[in-house]
Amino acid sequence: MMRRLDKRDFETFLESVMEECDLYAPVSLTEGVSVFKKIDHPNEVNFSQLLTQKPAKEIFFPQSEPMFNYERRGGKIQITSNEEVKRERILLGARPCDIEAISLIEKVFMSEPYTDLYFLEKRRKTTLIGLGCNPPLSTCFCSSAGGDPFLRSGSDLFLVDLGDAYSVELLTEKGMVFSKNKFLREADPEDLRRIKELEDKAFEKVGFSIPMDGIEKRLDLMMESFFWDRVHEKCIGCRICTYLCPTCHCFDIVDEGDFARGQRMRNWDSCLSPLYSLETSGHNPRPTTRERTRQRLMHKFNYFPKIFNRVGCVGCGRCIQYCPVHFDIRQAIIWTSSKRPRKPKI
């Protein structure tokens, strides 16, 4: 079902929605830096950046989350789990790549026979409002990674910025709940044409230039390749690519507290950290950046596809934008289709 939300009604629309739900939207922390956060007032919403620094996965998989509290009282230990989500939530303004990525993390966190209830509870209680990318950035390569800048799959509602209004597509049962909202008016017959125009333009810009097809098979033969000896050289081993990556889901579990009370925390972790695979004996199967960058790329493009039949990358390009030493994952992918690393002609 198609609807239209005039931009002058945007804030009042959000206000009406916030009466019943917690609203999460991109918020600017400082010029050029935005993250998804729970907002108190509609004027905090900021769509000026195509992509927030921290991806939307944060809403379902927070960077630091207490899993449960424990307390020792009179010789007994009491554990209170924190998985309950009290209010319904809405995630507004996530791009199609971020939304696709949430479904990839969902596959891992819900894989049989264990269900990650912390993730599931948040996911169940959230309505996803996607926002189409007009225009995408030059670092975007979602189409090569199985997505596209206007992919609707995964969104409950889908917005397209038409300039003076948003077109609002109600796609699922959760989305249809909004069909009675008084701010969502009848769609203009022109809207469909304008949307198609924006889609075509965006599609053309993103293109299909990254050879993702068959990358799993190519990497099968490359585990011990010299390729890795060269690919890792400039990597300094920080965690920017993994923390800003919408599909990365690795975490650490630590207890914080003392004998009497405390919490078991779940914090994001990164396979690029030297301590990640360090065993108590002192042995580290991934001692240098060579093995760790290999793990990252193999996981995204070989191990993940083996289990879930899809590359573990959505082509958002954040890792390319923010890597301090300008590591370009597209280059690494292109190199897997040539014999050895050479200066590319991009």
Partner: protein, 279 residues
């Protein structure tokens, strides 16, 4: 739906040192909730995550066998924060447990076949579970010959000395215990596990081998198994890797596309051959 991250409460029933250097300590845990005990079904080879709340959680192979009812046995090597906290536990104290996790030794494959068990050092924990299970009257007839080769660096570092003495006396088990260096009281074999294996030269015909030990022992024992013509599909091992969640979500313990905590820790060498050498 059950939250797989929440530990169940267990109480320490017994705790004692296993080795002369006091670095290995065995604890026996009892269930505090009857419903937990009823729901806990496991097989040899599986592991549990033990929590000392406030210090952390760590994975340990279950050393007791499912045939030993009433408590679960774990042998802990004192190496870091959580293991030190586990070492300091006294009888009556509470710990958390999540489990059983992982896969188990392919006992259904062993039926009607011989089993060769090779253990080194303190990797013998889940092998104890396997031996006790197989040698239980209900199960002993399921497999044919059982040969056990167990080696430690010194006599004082052998685990489960009581059980070893019992197994020595059994006619239906071939137990060979060896040490790298003997002492003045040691009357048994002296020799490295790979060499003892070569000496005993068990037949590989219709035999499954299970090998657990420190990397250096595996490195030298494996070629001997090859020389005895054991095919990769019939050699099993239990791998160790740094773990956190134990349920295949945190991503840490992967070897290729498999997780040691969920698809392992028991793997056959045929499986490992196809996986990246990332361990």
């Amino acid at each position: 739906m059950k939250n797989p991250y929440l530990p169940i409460p267990m109480v320490v029933k017994k705790a004692y040192s296993e080795t002369s250097d006091r670095m290995l300590r065995t604890i026996e845990l009892g269930f505090l909730n009857e419903s937990d005990e009823k729901g806990f079904q496991f097989m040899p080879g599986q592991f549990c995550e033990l929590s000392v709340l406030g210090k952390g959680e760590a994975p340990f192979g279950i050393a007791s066998s499912p045939t030993e009812k009433g408590s679960l046995k774990f042998t802990i090597n004192k190496a870091g924060r959580v293991t030190t906290a586990l070492h300091h536990l006294e009888e009556g104290e509470e710990v958390g447990l999540r489990g059983p996790l992982g896969n188990h030794y392919p006992i259904d494959r062993f039926e009607g076949k011989n089993v060769l068990i090779i253990g080194g050092g303190f990797a013998f924990t889940t092998l104890r579970s396997l031996v006790v299970y197989l040698s239980h009257p209900e199960n002993r007839s399921k497999v044919k010959e059982i040969t056990i080769i167990y080696g430690a660096r010194m006599p004082g570092l052998l685990l489960y000395k009581e059980e070893l003495a019992q197994w020595e006396n059994r006619k239906d088990l071939n137990l060979v215990v060896t040490v790298d260096w003997g002492d003045k009281n040691w009357k048994g074999k002296v020799g490295l596990v790979p060499n003892v294996l070569e000496e005993i030269a068990p037949s590989s015909k219709d035999t499954y081998a299970v090998i657990c030990g420190p990397p250096i022992m595996i490195k030298f024992t494996f070629p001997k198994l090859m020389a005895l013509k054991f095919p990769n599909e019939r050699i099993y091992t239990s791998l160790e890797k740094r773990m956190k969640c134990g349920i295949g979500k945190c991503g840490r313990c992967n070897i290729g596309h498999l997780f040691v905590c969920k698809d392992g820790p028991v793997f056959s060498y045929a499986q490992l051959e196809k996986l990246p050498k990332d361990y």
